[in-house]
């Protein structure tokens, strides 16, 4: 035991006011803050870690998807959005994907202006099939249609931090946002700011804002937890656990698709390996050459089963196919958009291929090898040091070595059905064309939205939400924080400091994960869901009060577990609300009420209105015509971008 190295400001309060408050300082939050500040608003950005490297893409990301307005792209934003949403059986986010497809490339150009690297200025890949020699842009996946760009994402967060400082944005690092402030007036609820705690000193921060943008990623540590290595148990950052979802749920914000979860794909606390750190041919590693244990190359085939002879063909649509889909949320696409892929596992075994398989970059053309091992693995999140440097230090040479793949799938993972994750475009906040929630003054972006995607999605929706919040701040009044709301929250936050020799936060997180696996696993039914909900509520009312903290760091972890319990309740409520199994949502019931199927074909939303659970169905096509709806609401933005390339 040692003295705490930071000042003790427990119980002390600091008050702030601003026009636009942004919660979460990852890519979405930084873009929201930049957009609002560029519009002339006073902006505060709150980040639990440190903005320089926070968020899912803090240490990098390698490919920017759906950049449909880049000069080389042959797919329109409308085509791309409809393809993606159709691929997701219409449980996709048409509004947000359209913003991503329509404005994503604008954000890349902005990033380049502030020091981000988005093209091959050093001519490292001159002459490569994936490079446009004039613009020096590098493409991934579909080299013919060129909608995905390879980028040097590790340069982005430091550049954004410099930009925030230049714009006089107040950045509150090491501050966890814990509750949204609100006021009820004339039958409507308005978000009026937020409360948070500095996680080193324990200082309470009360921030009044006219408009607030939630950019706090998505829930995690729901079904998956490991008390020994909790930092490894999920794919997204350890500190991103869905506090934004929990805070919004507590004040009545409307969610959708929270009944969706998938069998786990990544958890390096046991079931899988460091992301991008095993031999595979997906995503960052597409389209690596794969071999079996005899060294026999595994064939790539197009959607019609035609064996591809060259590496270049792996990056081209099939004869008669306009374009194919690859990327973060695309796993096994429908025939229309299915791209080149290695033969299915069963077929490989039938043909006598032998496990284990390996990625063999040594057989690839030089530029393709270097762009996978060096740019993609190197710029993708958590690869520059953990994979590229670490493996190189261990002696890995992509010209000589093959990297093992484990099991039968590309994730090198082995999960049980009840070990689930919010992954592959999961649920989140319902929103309108302004990325506004049902609460006035409350906007959302990035993984906080339902059916979110990757980094380009975060940047595009962040900027868009920041613009809309900036507009709203001109109309909304500043409201003084409600003293009762502040008092209740301060008491809640600091209570574990008064518990002596209590439970460890990890014990509650583990109990919660087990409760989710037992009562909300792969197959659900009303009886189990009700029992699970009761158990989660008893963890909140009983166990949580027995947890103790020695310092603000431990307090933060307890606050996270409290939020995880809220998210669990939200998930249970969402599962109970959907009566019928729904394959696109990976939602299976043993007591599915088939007569409800047609009535449930849409976005089922729910909100918690001071204890009353409200639900409604919203049709899949609620966004209307994309071009018309977007244009009506973004004429100023479109004018501002005219003439910019």
């Amino acid at each position: 035991m040692a003295d705490w190295p930071y000042e003790n400001r427990s119980g002390k309060r600091a008050e702030y006011t601003c026009d636009v408050l942004v919660l979460g300082g990852g890519l979405a939050g930084c873009h929201a803050a930049v957009a609002a500040a560029e519009a002339g608003r006073r902006v505060i950005l709150v980040e639990k870690g440190a903005v320089i490297r926070s968020g899912s893409a803090g240490t990098g990301f390698d490919h920017w998807e759906m950049a449909c307005t880049n000069p080389g792209c042959r797919i329109t934003p409308e085509e791309m959005t409809e393809a993606l949403v159709s691929e997701q059986d219409h449980y996709g986010n048409r509004i947000a994907h359209y913003i991503e497809a329509r404005e994503g490339y604008d954000r890349l150009m902005d990033l380049e202006k502030i020091g981000g690297k988005v093209r091959d200025t050093g001519d490292e890949f001159a002459g490569a099939a994936f490079r446009d020699e004039k613009t020096k842009l590098l493409y991934a996946y579909d080299y013919t249609n060129r909608y995905t760009l390879r980028v040097w994402g590790s340069t982005f967060k430091p550049a954004l931090l410099r930009r925030l400082k230049a714009l006089d944005v107040t950045v509150l690092d090491r501050t966890e946002a814990t509750a949204l402030l609100y006021a009820d007036r004339e039958g409507r609820r308005q978000c009026t700011g937020a409360i948070g705690m500095e996680v080193r000193t324990g200082e309470i921060r009360v921030i009044s804002a006219k408009a607030t943008v939630l950019c706090m990623s998505r829930p995690a540590r729901i079904w998956l937890f490991n008390a020994d290595t909790p930092g490894l148990c999920e794919f997204r950052p350890f500190q991103s656990i869905g506090s934004g979802h929990a805070m919004a749920w507590r004040i009545g914000a409307e969610f959708t698709m929270m009944e969706k979860s998938v069998r786990g794909e990544f958890s390096a606390a046991g079931r899988s390996f460091p992301p991008y750190g095993t031999g595979n041919n997906h995503n960052t590693w597409y389209a690596a050459t794969m071999v079996d244990s005899r060294g026999v190359e595994i064939p790539y085939v197009d959607r019609d089963g035609r064996e591809l002879k060259s590496v270049d063909e792996r990056y081209r649509p099939a004869p008669g196919q306009k374009f194919f889909l690859k990327g973060g949320v695309i796993d096994e696409p429908k025939y229309e958009w299915r791209g080149p892929e290695t033969l299915p596992f069963d077929e490989l075994i039938r043909r006598g291929y032998r496990l284990p398989f390996y990625a063999d970059l040594s057989r690839m053309p030089d530029a393709e090898r270097r762009v996978i091992w060096g740019l993609m693995v190197g710029e993708e999140g958590k690869t520059k040091i953990p994979i590229l440097k670490n493996y190189t230090d261990r002696g890995f040479d992509p010209q000589k070595h093959v990297l093992q793949s484990y099991g039968t799938g590309w994730q090198s993972a082995a999960f049980l059905d009840q070990e689930r994750q919010l992954f592959g475009a999961p649920g989140g906040l319902m929103h309108d064309w302004d990325l506004k929630t049902n609460i006035d003054g409350l906007y959302a972006a990035g993984d906080q939205l339902y059916a979110s995607d990757c980094a380009g999605f975060a940047c595009a929706t962040g900027h868009y939400a920041g613009r809309k919040a900036a507009d709203a701040a001109l109309q909304l009044e500043e409201v003084c924080p409600d003293p009762a709301q502040v008092e209740n929250e301060v008491n809640r936050l600091l209570a574990p400091l008064d518990v002596r020799r209590g439970m460890d936060w990890r014990e509650v997180n583990m109990a919660c994960a087990k409760a989710m696996q037992n009562y909300c696993g792969g197959i659900r039914c009303d009886d189990l869901l009700h029992q699970g909900l009761d158990l989660i509520q008893s963890l909140r009312t009983e166990a949580l009060h027995e947890v103790s903290a020695h310092n603000p760091h431990e307090l933060m972890r307890i606050h996270e577990v409290s939020d995880i319990l809220d998210v669990c309740e939200l998930i249970y409520r969402a599962c109970l609300a959907r009566a019928c199994s729904c394959a696109p949502l990976f939602f299976e019931r043993s007591d599915s009420r088939e007569e409800m199927r047609t009535q449930e074909d849409g976005f089922l939303t729910l909100s918690n209105w001071d204890g009353e659970i409200r639900t409604r169905m919203i049709p899949h096509d609620y966004a209307g015509d994309l071009v018309t709806s977007y244009t009506e609401r973004n004429r100023d933005y479109m004018r501002s971008r005219e003439g910019q390339v």
Binding site: D3, P5, G11, G58, D228, A268, G277
Partner: protein, 92 residues
């Protein structure tokens, strides 16, 4: 009453980061870049920070990227060290 804070080491079976004490200048830039805030400057400026919560590391490498002297190494848990072999040895 104002609570008293204490720094209590929370052990784990793993130790994700190691400091080369010859190279470390104790600037604590790593601690301020660490997203999970597991590096605490217990011994003050000029000394490496203490890895107070090793189990909470999410292995992003931000500390290594931020270190001005190359004093930090990150290593994966033993179970996560994926295997690679010489391409020439396949089938032999």
């Amino acid at each position: 009453m104002k609570a008293t804070y204490e720094a209590v080491f929370v052990g784990s079976s793993v130790m994700p980061v190691h400091f080369d004490t010859e190279k470390c200048i104790g600037c604590h830039r790593c601690a301020n870049a660490c997203q999970t805030d597991i590096l605490l400057p217990i011994d003050g400026k000029g000394k490496p920070p203490t890895v107070m919560y090793p189990g909470e590391c999410w292995y992003c490498g931000a500390c290594v990227m931020e270190c001005p002297t190359g004093a930090i190494s990150l290593s994966h848990p033993l179970m996560n060290r994926a295997r690679f072999i010489n391409a020439d040895s396949l089938g032999k």
